[in-house]
């Protein structure tokens, strides 16, 4: 396997995980950017504990997820009733506080970053990453199609109506924030292991742009579009001619704007998934019938 193929497969999976982490709170109209700072915290936690304390991969992973969930728990209770603008701005601010702290703390490598995680063999790392993609994807799918998913739909439609129906919006929001942060931390640990370290510049406005573009391009209200959008968007910038590669951020930004203007529900929307599942069911019936 070439290095390009490895990075393509690995980053596609990491961005799928990150985009699912953003997708979950968005389902309930909660613009929660916690996965971004959780990814940053998770990556730094895994790198630091691996280099300084010699923790093995699985211990760093569990530690990072627990650490990020606890970190997100503190603001979660206050963020839950806020929603909308304040939630987005507060979580974005937390993201930049974490990034500034990483940049300025010498113990975390400061401006030079922190490198030196013992490398995992590429096939093993890919296996672990895609294993997590399957597990997280299954959980998100089950959540989407459970009574919680229907509650999220009700909140998205009208949160006042949802509250009247007896849905505890604040509690659900806290739960979503924590799940989302855990997935973000997972993405961060895998990211750090891919590079055998971490660098503060990886966590800035461009990461938010990538994450949001994948979510909006794929489709904000289904989990399936993300699976297509992540590899396509990451791959497109890699196969661009060398002269255009420097403009990948402009391309992402332009794509984001165009998608929002012409197809705000993304390439795969609810209607399409319903039609596809209806078609698949009909095909299955015909096959079984014949």
């Amino acid at each position: 396997m070439t290095q390009f193929q490895f990075f393509f497969l690995e980053f596609s999976a990491i961005y799928i995980l990150l985009a699912w982490a953003i997708y979950l709170p968005f389902r309930a109209n909660q613009p929660y950017f916690g996965p971004f700072y959780s990814m940053c915290l998770g990556a730094y936690f895994a790198t630091y504990t691996s280099i300084s304390w010699g923790w093995p991969f699985w211990l760093t992973l569990i530690g990072a997820v627990v650490f990020c969930v606890l970190f997100s728990l503190i603001p979660a209770f206050k963020l839950a009733p806020l929603g909308g603008f304040p939630m987005l701005i507060a979580t974005m601010a937390l993201f930049f506080i974490v990034q500034t702290a990483a940049r300025n703390m010498q113990v975390l490598g400061g401006r030079h970053g922190l490198f030196g995680i013992p490398p995992l063999p590429p096939f093993i790392l890919l296996g672990i990453t895609y294993g997590f993609v399957l597990i997280v994807g299954f959980c998100v799918y089950r959540l989407d199609n459970s009574h919680i998913g229907r509650a999220l739909d009700a909140i998205l439609f009208d949160k006042h109506v949802a509250a009247t129906l007896g849905i505890d919006i604040a509690r659900l929001s806290i739960q979503l924030q924590l799940i989302s942060s855990a997935i973000g931390a997972l993405a961060g640990v895998l990211y750090a292991n891919t590079f055998c370290g971490v660098f503060h510049e990886a966590f800035g406005f461009p990461l938010i742009l990538y994450g949001m573009t994948i979510l909006i391009f794929g489709g904000m209200y289904t989990m399936w579009g993300i699976i297509i959008a992540a590899p396509v968007l990451w791959g497109v910038t890699q196969v661009l001619p060398e002269a255009l590669k420097a403009f990948s951020i402009i391309i992402y930004g332009a794509l984001l704007i165009v998608m929002l203007l012409i197809r705000p529900n993304g390439i795969i929307d609810r209607k399409m998934t319903k039609a596809m599942s209806g078609g698949a069911r009909a095909l299955l019936k015909r096959v079984v019938g014949s």
Partner: protein, 272 residues
């Protein structure tokens, strides 16, 4: 002035324009470009900064209109974020090989200083301060005493009632973008006069501080915004003086987080 522009856009269009500060810095780059091309002709350079501000504000307005009509705040915010990142990237690739730009010393009136005891102030800084005060008062006069200003305030107060009264909300939104662009262009020139340099990441730092002041004072409170800007300025200066490294942005963002979590209506806002 930056906070005033944010307030204007939020109240009239309902949009938190995260890319506005980057677009403002783009006006600084336009002024720098014309100054370079015209061998430091100040009148042309200043005009280019102001005109580019208005043009950028007006040209980007249609991107937001569908979302303003639908009150799709989140989508509009994402568009503004994308615009900010695109303009930052344009500045870092297409101007001055991505290096920070420097304005001519004549724009900052570097030769002339005012001495007062141990304090020495450059004339450029004095002009910036005086011009800022004049512009803010002129804007407040426009907002409170003219028909156009009253229309803006009516839309800001209640969009639906304003629509029933026959006010075109779309036209008012475009006008507010153009006005924010004009103020942005003027701010860009004053910024160039006082700092003398600009870089593609200046917008990020500006938006952080503007958001901090905006939420600290509560959205829409101009007087509170002025007081909070001063408080934040003092806190940042202390942080720069006493803390190692670059923690100023983290301090501004910490202010945002603490205020949003514990007093979401801001220091000068009313609890609803």
């Amino acid at each position: 002035m930056v906070v005033i522009c944010y307030n204007l856009l939020i109240l009239v269009t309902g949009i938190l324009h995260l890319g506005y500060a980057s677009l403002l810095v783009l006006s600084m780059y336009a002024a720098w470009f014309v100054l370079n091309a015209t061998n430091n002709n100040l009148i042309l350079g200043i005009s280019a900064g102001i005109v580019s501000g208005i043009v950028i504000g007006t040209v980007t307005a249609p991107l937001f209109l569908p979302f303003i009509k639908r009150r799709a705040i989140l989508e509009a915010l994402v568009i503004s974020l994308a615009l900010g990142i695109i303009s930052g990237d344009v500045m870092s690739h297409w101007f001055n090989l991505g290096l920070p730009i420097a304005f001519p010393s004549s724009l900052q009136m570097e030769g002339t200083t005012i001495s007062w005891g141990l304090t020495i102030i450059r004339m450029g800084e004095v002009v910036t301060l005086v011009a800022s005060i004049i512009i803010v008062f002129a804007f407040l006069y426009f907002l409170n005493r003219t028909k156009r200003g009253r229309i803006l305030r009516a839309v800001a107060q209640d969009t639906e009632v304003a629509r029933i009264l026959g006010i075109s909300v779309t036209k008012t939104a475009i006008f507010s973008f153009a006005l924010a662009g004009l103020l942005g262009g003027l701010t860009a020139i004053l910024f160039a006069m006082s700092t003398g340099t600009a870089s593609s990441i200046l917008g990020d730092s500006l938006v952080i501080k503007a958001l901090a002041v905006l939420f600290l004072a509560s959205i829409g409170n101009l007087r509170g915004g002025l007081i909070c800007a001063l408080i934040l300025g003092v806190v940042e200066s202390l942080a720069m003086g006493y803390l190692p490294g670059d923690w100023t942005n983290a301090i501004a963002f910490s202010v945002v987080v603490v205020i949003l979590l514990f007093k979401p209506e801001g220091l000068f806002g009313e609890q609803h």
